[in-house]
């Protein structure tokens, strides 16, 4: 099957999943339900499923772009400290307890975006200071920043009162519980701008796969491409983290699975990662909603499920360094 045909198939599958997912949950609700059930279906489940799709798509795209840029299968928003930066921004904002919004973008989202951007700028600055732009330096500083910011988040939480602290903890697990139409509208500008930027850079990302030196010699304006990718990734990771918390591992798993199925050409891989990341989080979220139906009632945060799947996947990736999963 040609990659393009596979992509069309994936799009059809995604549409199917987006239609079916709202029907499933603690209780099955048929499409033609009325009254209160319809209210739950259209008012609660549908926006939540759409939020899950948007969040998954964004995390997947940012992971894909980092992996291509750094030619490293383990480069993700998490390993580069971007997620922690976003989480710190959002946690600080929650701690402050102010609710502002501007043009439909909540203060938390803006703070998370700034946090994401800040960590990228720090990581980028550190590596630049070392001269050149070597991948090992970049990844190591990313991990260092990530630990540092995570500690700061714990500190913020330590300083917070019980209610703020509980909000931060719950949100840090990665959750879609509160996702509604407001959150969806909050995610959209980040999704659209980030995806548009990356959608225009597919050819450049392909060339980055053969290394930065060769990319320069092919006439790619590498510094500009890097800045644009950083901007797009900060927008998307910031946008997602503010609404759903740091949902782990999708940014790593989804692009890898797509690369195995669709190949490395970013003209196909970009839309594929977008769709698959979204689909993947929708499925995980639906699963948590179904599981929650069987447990005591407190909802399982979706981040727990993605991390449970992601941990083993990460280990397979490490063991398979010379295998087919390599970038």
């Amino acid at each position: 099957m040609k990659p393009l045909h596979k992509l069309i198939l994936l799009a059809v599958l995604t549409l199917g999943a987006l239609t079916a997912a709202p029907l499933l949950g603690m209780e099955f609700i048929p499409l033609n339900a009325g009254g209160q059930e319809r209210e739950i279906l259209m008012g609660i489940r549908l926006p939540r499923v759409l939020c899950a799709f948007a969040a998954g798509a964004m995390l997947s795209l940012s992971g894909m772009s980092f992996q291509a840029l750094f030619r490293n299968p383990l480069a993700t928003p998490f390993t580069l400290g971007v997620s922690s930066g976003a989480a710190l921004g959002a946690a600080l904002f929650i701690r402050l307890g102010i609710a502002v919004s501007f043009l439909g973008i909540s203060g938390t989202s803006a703070a998370a975006f700034l946090g994401a951007l800040l960590s990228i700028v720090i990581v980028y600055g550190l590596t630049k200071l070392k001269g050149g732009f070597s991948t090992p330096t970049l990844l190591l500083s990313g991990i260092a920043i990530s630990f540092f910011f995570s500690s700061l988040i714990l500190f913020v939480q330590y300083l917070s009162g019980l209610s703020h602290s509980f909000r931060i903890i719950h949100w840090m697990m990665g959750t879609l519980t509160t996702a509604g139409y407001t959150q969806l509208i909050n995610l959209l500008p980040f999704l659209l701008s980030g995806a548009a930027i990356l959608g225009l850079l597919t050819r450049e990302l392909n060339i980055f796969l053969i290394g930065e030196d060769l990319a320069i010699s092919r006439g790619v304006h590498t510094a500009r491409v890097k800045k644009l990718v950083f901007l797009a990734a900060s927008l998307m990771v910031g946008g997602v983290t503010a609404v759903c918390g740091p949902i782990g591992f999708i940014g790593m798993m989804s692009p890898h699975i797509c690369r195995l199925v669709f190949g490395a050409d970013h003209r196909i891989l970009t839309p594929a990662s977008f769709l698959f990341g979204g689909l993947f989080l929708v499925l995980c979220d639906t699963l948590t909603r179904i599981i929650s139906g069987f447990t005591s009632g407190a909802e399982l945060p979706v981040g727990v499920l993605t991390a449970l799947l992601g941990g083993p996947f990460f280990i397979i990736l490490l063991l398979n360094r010379k295998g087919s999963l390599e970038l």
Partner: protein, 262 residues
């Protein structure tokens, strides 16, 4: 012969250490310049400065009569292509996809590849004998085949100037001979200008129209291949004695480093 590349007083410091010191030379159309010298002499750095990878140098590099700093990266890439030293890293692209990256500077942001782009890729693959490998992922190729694919990609870029960093080092004899033949043809038949770092003195002497030797970042020799094949000159460059042995098959004698085989 007009100078396609002109390098004047090129100096580069990296973290306080002088890597290149006042390097000057030029290359005309159809010339093949071999850069030789001991390890750490700055050969790779020189090629990377020319390729636009290092930018913090002082001096002047003129490509096609224009100051290289005023040329956009895309324009530069239409004038010169680059083949780096073979690296062990794997790469998910196929031979054809790799060759297609060579067409990047010829495409504008919203156009896709046209017939002339496909023709350039085809002819580059043909020239390097890689037509049969076009759908193969680079990961599945041998070191020699992979190097051919990278040379094919540089040829597909369709530039007047080719910059190569040790194109035949680490290759087996057959692939070494093939690389030499391809480069010589690109130079003599297509009139391309080649600047190549060569590790092997005999390859350097056999291919080129001019040899330049670097030592501790400075040009210590610049002259014809015949002059470079002189054992005294080579001893000065490499700091080890050489012997030359007349070869019936070649116009110039074979050079062997003394000591190793005794």
């Amino acid at each position: 012969m007009s100078d396609l590349i002109q390098i004047r007083h090129l100096s580069l410091e990296l973290s306080g250490k002088t890597i290149l010191n006042e390097v000057s030379f030029s290359a005309g159309e159809g010339e093949y310049i071999s850069v030789i010298g001991p390890n750490g002499a700055g050969k790779t750095t020189l090629i990377k400065c020319l390729a636009g990878i290092y930018t913090s140098w002082h001096g002047a590099i003129r490509i096609g009569g224009k100051d290289s700093r005023t040329l956009s990266s895309r324009k530069t890439a239409r004038l010169q292509s680059y083949v780096p030293q073979a690296e062990g890293r794997s790469n998910p692209l196929t031979v054809e996809e790799l060759a297609a990256t060579g067409r990047y500077p010829h495409l504008s942001a919203f156009t896709s590849m046209k017939q002339e782009d496909f023709n350039a890729i085809d002819s580059a693959l043909k020239q390097t004998g890689m037509l049969a490998f076009r759908k193969r992922p680079l990961n599945s190729l041998s070191g020699g085949e992979r190097q051919m694919a990278f040379i094919a990609a540089a040829l597909a870029q369709d530039t007047k100037i080719l910059l190569l960093d040790e194109p035949s080092t680490f290759l087996d004899y057959k692939h070494q001979a093939e690389v030499t033949a391809i480069l010589r043809a690109a130079c003599r038949e297509q009139g391309r200008t080649i600047i190549a770092v060569h590790h092997d003195i005999n390859t350097a002497v056999a291919c080129s129209t001019k040899v330049i030797a670097l030592k501790s970042g400075s040009v210590v020799f610049s002259g014809t291949p015949a002059a470079a094949a002189d054992t005294k000159t080579l001893q000065e460059i490499y700091g080890t004695p050489f012997i030359s042995s007349p070869s019936p098959a070649r116009p110039l004698p074979l050079i062997i480093a003394e000591g190793g085989d005794q």
